[in-house]
């Protein structure tokens, strides 16, 4: 059915070796898809010339949505006409990337008919990426996806597709229900997700514990990371068991505790929980003996992003501990206030983390009506340059503060 494959001696090299080969995937697709055939040719050319052949995408999309499609055109449409358009569609993955085969197959069927037959499972933000189709296919694809209950993900200056770790579905350490929360937030912010109206993108990522298996603290404007407030649950017998089975509890566990709050006398393990930093290390190493406490919730952090252009950021603490239970009103109210402020005062292409740095965390907190707490800082200021906003006036006799 598809055209004969172009000669791709360089790419063919990448069919060898033990790691799954993306070239094989393109060739698999190329059995049926002329788009995949042209992609092979174009990619081989890039390998020879050491340069890409894609142009800036124009604005393409589906009716009523501002995001979800990345427009893409190649710069040699005469040579590679089948991929003269090669737009990707971002499809909002199910929380935790769990699938049943029938659902996956239904997507494959649509994509076989209307696209390149190539995908990314998944994109870096978490979406199902349908890799390459033509403008005129966008509406039909959306209509068919809709029939099998898949909606588009985010792109542009909107809420980006939230993602989460598998959490309670498969992990003993989940301190809140990441998948449920991810789903609930995705649903609550459908409008913000599909219709870019922010200064720039806004990403949510949900991790069930400080191991942060979705890299939330590094890659989300709002990072929701599970934690606990009370003491680590310990099964003393299981600790003894680990020791008996050869674990060197002093060097493997105690010496690696960043809080230096553990003590092992060769028989009993003691944790001074009021100093514990909830780093997870001891729990990670002795999953049968130690577990997060019972009073569980999440730490909310704000602002991580890649470096363009002010330098990369990790998220920083906004709420040290919050219970994560529907309807999450306290948190979503804060989110509303953050967005309101950022939409009003943020510059174009200024992520929320950059915005906070520009206006100052103290001012930001005042504006969103959150009290400052020491958990928000790694340490208090080192410089003495405090902007006091008020001062005493002579006649006050020191008794009253006056606004300037």
């Amino acid at each position: 059915m598809a055209e004969s494959l172009p000669k791709t001696p360089m790419l063919d090299e990448l069919e060898k070796g033990g790691w799954p080969s993306f070239v094989k995937e393109i060739k698999l697709a190329a059995k049926k898809s002329p788009m995949a055939v042209d992609l092979l040719g174009l990619l081989e050319r890039s390998y020879k010339e050491k340069i890409g052949h894609w142009k800036h995408g124009g604005i393409v999309g589906v009716m009523g949505y501002g995001g979800g499609v990345i427009g893409r055109y190649n710069d040699l449409p005469e040579v590679y006409p089948n991929i003269s358009h090669f737009h990707t569609i971002r499809v909002n993955q199910p929380a935790g990337w769990f699938y049943k085969s029938d659902a996956l197959r239904s997507i494959c069927d649509i994509w076989e008919k209307r696209g390149s037959s190539l995908t990314n499972m998944h994109g870096s933000t978490g979406d199902i990426i349908l890799l390459g189709t033509r403008t005129e296919q966008l509406e039909p694809i959306f209509a068919e996806l809709s029939k099998v209950d898949f909606d588009l993900g985010g792109s542009g200056s909107d809420v980006r597709t939230p993602s989460c770790c598998c959490g309670m579905a498969r992990c003993e350490w989940a301190c809140y229900d990441t998948m449920r929360t991810c789903y609930d937030f995705t649903m609550k912010f459908q409008d913000e997700l599909h219709r870019p109206a922010f200064p720039y993108k806004f990403k949510f990522k949900f991790s069930g514990c400080p191991n942060d298996c979705v890299a939330s603290i590094a890659r989300a404007d709002m990072s929701i990371i599970g934690t606990w407030r009370d003491s680590i649950q310990m099964d003393k017998a299981a600790v003894t068991e680990y020791a008996k089975n050869g674990m060197d509890i002093q060097s493997e566990v105690v010496d690696n505790c960043p809080a230096k709050c553990m003590d092992w006398d060769g028989k009993e393990l003691h944790i001074e929980n009021s100093y514990c930093r909830r780093c997870m290390h001891c729990i990670n190493v002795m999953p049968k003996a130690l577990r997060p406490g019972k009073d569980r919730g999440a730490t909310i952090l704000l602002g991580s992003k890649a470096p363009i252009v002010e330098g990369a950021l990790l998220s920083s603490v906004l709420i040290p501990f919050i219970k994560m239970e529907p309807p999450y009103k306290e948190l979503t109210d804060i989110i509303d206030r953050i967005w309101e402020l950022w939409c009003e005062e943020g510059k174009n292409r200024e992520r929320v983390g950059e915005f906070i740095q520009r206006v100052g965390l103290g001012n930001f907190l005042e504006a969103i009506e959150v009290d400052p707490v020491p958990e928000m800082v790694a340490h208090p200021r080192e410089n003495p340059y405090v902007f006091y906003e008020e001062y005493f006036e002579a006649g006050d006799e020191g008794s009253e503060e006056e606004e300037k």
Binding site: G52, K100, T186
Partner: protein, 357 residues
């Protein structure tokens, strides 16, 4: 938009895709154990055992491959499977007997099993020359070459701790390489070549000027056309101008290539999360197998594997021994490029006498 048009319905509810054993034990998992490379069991308060088998995936998947995964899921675990945050595929089994046959089938399909615990998992990566206009290198090709070389570290668990590699094909860092044990980052090294012919048609000149963080761009008349000029000595190749304006391409076969970064991490385990730091400023794009890159990475992995203490991530190890020692041990030449000269540069200077000799 018609009234009937269905929008904003969001993704399918995840519960539809959870195997019964997970639905029953949701939130009740008690502990887990890694049984062998790529295979772990989660044990529930209820006593139930869930076996997960993790297989490598190339992330760029044809629908044929997805269907093959589905076939395996149907065969061994009621059709249920998932993907991980690093793009591996996982099969969720209730019956331990199915583990080995599944692994055998996966191997046949070309998908090694592994990536758990103290191993190197799949490389988080991006589009590269497959799809993006910004790329300074390819993504999938470099990843394939590197992982072919490091396969043993995926299929075995012989490292001191986890090692996470990521790749981004340009400074936008969609691969979020800024917090990886080892990061591969495509970089441009030639200032934008302005397309004076078309710039005024495609771009707003004030926006273009404003996009440059170093103020290297200023409006100029060129050949009678409104355009911009670039003060080349001020350019540090961030490509922000190009993101804003297609008439400012930076891609260039002679100067594009790859830089290598080390010591980042994301988890809060032991040390707080850390950014990756520059190790090798430049390696050439040498398709199809980027031998300079694969060699550099293997050297870094092995240096770390040999010298780090148990559980010590790359960055924790380097922090313990100090960067001078890292440079001495790795044989990487320290150059002006390694010294930060951006906004907070002063905070990266060594402000103590804690030195090794």
């Amino acid at each position: 938009m018609t009234d009937e048009r269905r929008t904003d319905y969001g993704p399918p509810h995840y519960e539809r895709f959870l195997p019964p054993i997970i639905k029953e034990n949701y939130g009740k998992w008690k502990y887990h154990e890694v049984l062998k490379p790529g295979v772990m069991v989660h044990v529930s308060e209820s006593g139930a055992h869930l076996y997960s088998v993790r297989a490598a995936s190339s992330r760029l998947l044809s629908i044929e491959k997805i269907r093959a995964y589905c076939d395996l899921a149907d065969k061994y675990c009621g059709g249920y499977l998932r993907f991980t945050s690093r793009h591996n595929v996982e099969f969720l089994l209730s019956d331990a007997k199915n583990i080995d046959p599944l692994i055998a089938d996966l191997k046949k399909l070309g998908h090694p099993v592994g990536g758990l615990q103290n191993s190197i998992s799949a490389i988080v990566h991006t589009q590269g020359w497959i799809h993006c206009h910004s790329a300074a290198t390819d993504a999938s090709g470099v990843v394939k070459a590197v992982m072919d070389d490091l396969l043993e570290y995926f299929t075995e668990m012989k490292l001191p701790g986890k090692l996470r590699i990521a790749l981004a094909c340009c400074l936008n860092m969609c691969g979020a390489v800024h917090c990886s044990d080892i990061a591969i980052l495509g970089i441009h090294r030639r200032p934008p070549r302005v397309d004076h012919e078309n710039l005024h048609k495609m771009c707003e000149i004030p926006n273009v000027s404003a996009s440059c963080p170093t103020a290297a761009i200023r409006p100029a008349m060129v050949g009678g056309k409104q355009s911009v000029e670039v003060l080349e000595e001020r350019c540090m190749f961030c490509a922000n101008c190009f993101t804003v304006c297609p008439s400012m391409p930076l891609a260039d076969p002679l100067n594009d290539g790859v830089s290598i970064w080390v010591g980042g991490k994301v988890s809060n385990a032991r040390h707080e999360p850390m950014f990756s730091k520059l190790a090798i400023p430049f390696l050439p794009n040498n398709p199809p197998r980027w031998p300079e890159v694969t060699e550099a990475i293997r050297n870094l992995v092995e240096l770390w594997a040999k010298n780090a203490r148990k559980y010590e991530r790359m960055g924790e190890w380097i922090e313990r021994i100090g960067w001078p020692k890292f440079f001495r041990m790795s044989g990487i030449e320290f150059r002006k490029e390694h010294i930060d000269d951006f906004k907070h540069a002063g905070l990266t200077f060594k402000r103590s006498t804690h030195l090794t000799f």
